[in-house]
Symmetry: C2
Subunit: 357 residues, 2 copies
């Protein structure tokens, strides 16, 4: 295993100077909630050509943000598979998120955070908000939509909801619908948050959110992102900064230190209510078929990904075939677990480059 | 998949009239903590023969108790693999537990619960307390020690710590040491408890324990006991008592209802500090080899058990072989995940019967 690949993912993408905010005006969700206006934070890389046909929309996963060149640095950049010398690459923070787009921590018209008043939203709502952003950028048709995990679900939703606007669709480490186990993991995370007294029914001050519950939810998330192998390679049973046990309930093992650190760090950049809203959208998502789609598909999955196991990608590929669409499913043998979709620039990258080209 | 096997495990074994409490007097832990006296709760089934050579000690897993005929009903009973018509079967609640044996919720000499004063204990301590119980019952040598998961670790510890007292050793769904991933899952559970304000550093009133944290820890446990397949078969994406979503953060899916129910139910029978103490003992346990052992071994593991994956049992089997001991490892292909060691009476049962006979 290449240990260089285990450098910390840049999930914690800094808010960069390049980030822009689009005011997109009134927005009605799929279930009929009327926002008087929504904002979507986004970044772009590369140049839109004159024909405006070289745009690629990248969709982020649960805890990601608009800074795709950070968290997907192995795929996006000059000369990389999603080549910013060639394509105009767009990534926006999802509706319901907390990195500049309208979400539960945004201020409502009364000047207070939405909190519990933020509506339940869907993957389709995220995609419809992105479509408005794409309008705003003057682009009618995307060369491709690409995403992994929750980002893959958005790409799928694009393909059936706005088929005329999507030429190619790259979906990695994702699925057509959450299984009971996936819903179960999300539910444990939600309960960790909602059972934290500081959650206060969702209406907490933004400077005093339910950090402990959010941290526990994130710790659990980090376990599901890796694999047994990846954990073993990364931590084994090594102790944290000592040679012998201290015999207490504090940190003994490196893996404990890592999880607590990741959990606590997350609370400084993520809103607990956003985690609730986005995991709910994930659990509700259920793609029945791809008959409305016209795009060409590339699916990727990873042998060690037990959170979004390869059979879920194979099901998607079969849906595309059943819909008469051109489709490929690449099963990639790497030991990094779900995180592989972020870490693998090589195998995935070569396939994506050929697919887009 | 046989859906009958999915009836609720009898993890929640009632405290029966048959439960007895042995006062075992002073006890010093491996690390030198002196209890002025310990109590061990136990049950027995069958008759001890005159030669006193037909006793089998059964060791329970993390959340089990002395009522083995409940939680291991598929293996223990008249005519079953661990045949109570033939053997004298003993099971005790572990030291550090909360079902009648001395643990953090027991009252210390000052009349208050031990709470944070309860020492860190080891699997060896559990086993040494059991050895004292076996003395108390007038038995010098056990025909067998048997256990799964944490119970398997106790059986292993018996084999190397009291080799002259163990003839056969059956270890199922267990391992020589927790991997980083296993430690990680335990740590998330511990953090869920310790970050609950009601934990109060471990010194909470027994009628007001950190229920929410304990419940979240247990929910997570229940996910790790099953497999993706088992979850799918049991719940799929079925909704709980309705045909359409309610669009809120309450229960939507059956799997959510199940996990919350299991989590909350657990808090009425289990002590949060016991969960901390026992998971710590699990994480510390590390069996280097079996050279001190003399017993004959049978190891079982299950293809779908990703919490204690089969390779951990194979490692144990190889340790036994390397120590020149008679050993067998049976890999059983069943889809129930870690719970298979509780649910499988057939395949496992036949092997155990032959092994003991």
């Amino acid at each position: 295993m290449d240990s260089a690949l285990f450098q910390e993912n840049e999930r914690t993408a800094a808010v960069t100077d390049e980030r822009q905010i689009a005011d997109l005006g009134p927005f009605t969700t799929e279930r009929g909630y009327d926002f008087s206006s929504i904002q979507i934070a986004y970044e772009t890389w590369g140049q839109l050509n004159e024909a405006k046909d070289n745009a690629i929309l990248v969709c982020h996963a649960l805890s990601g943000d608009a800074h795709a060149i950070g968290w997907w640095s192995r795929l996006i950049g000059p000369g990389k598979a999603i080549d910013t010398d060639k394509y105009f690459v767009i990534c926006s923070n999802v509706l319901g998120g907390c990195q500049g787009s309208t979400g539960p921590s945004s201020l409502a018209e009364d000047g207070l955070p939405f909190g519990s008043r933020f509506p339940i939203i869907s993957i389709n709502d995220m995609v419809d908000a992105q479509a408005r952003l794409v309008d705003h950028l003057g682009i009618s048709r995307l060369h491709a939509v690409a995403g992994g995990s929750m980002g893959g679900m958005q790409a799928l939703a694009w393909s059936v909801r706005h088929p005329e606007r999507v030429q190619k669709c790259f979906v990695t480490a994702s699925g057509a619908a959450h299984s009971a186990m996936q819903i179960g993991f999300n539910e444990v995370g939600r309960q960790a948050i909602m059972r934290d007294p500081k959650w206060r029914g969702g209406d907490y001050p933004l400077n005093d959110q339910p950090k402990d519950g959010l941290s526990v939810a994130r710790m659990l998330g980090h376990i599901t992102f890796l694999s047994e192998d990846a954990f073993g390679q990364k931590f084994a049973r090594r102790l944290q900064g000592k040679d012998t046990f201290s015999y207490h309930f504090g940190v003994e093992f490196e893996v404990e230190s890592y999880l607590n650190y990741q959990g606590d760090k997350f609370t400084s950049r993520f809103d607990a209510n956003s985690l609730l809203v986005l995991t709910r959208a994930l659990d509700y998502f259920e793609l029945k078929d791809l008959r409305a789609a016209t795009a060409e598909f590339l699916f990727a999955s990873f042998t060690s990904d037990w959170l979004y196991p390869p059979h879920q990608s194979e099901t998607l590929h079969q849906m595309a075939i059943a819909a008469g669409l051109k489709s490929e499913h690449v099963l990639i043998d790497l030991p990094y677990g779900h995180d592989a979709f972020l870490l693998d620039g090589d195998v995935q990258g070569a396939r994506v480059r050929a697919f887009l080209g």
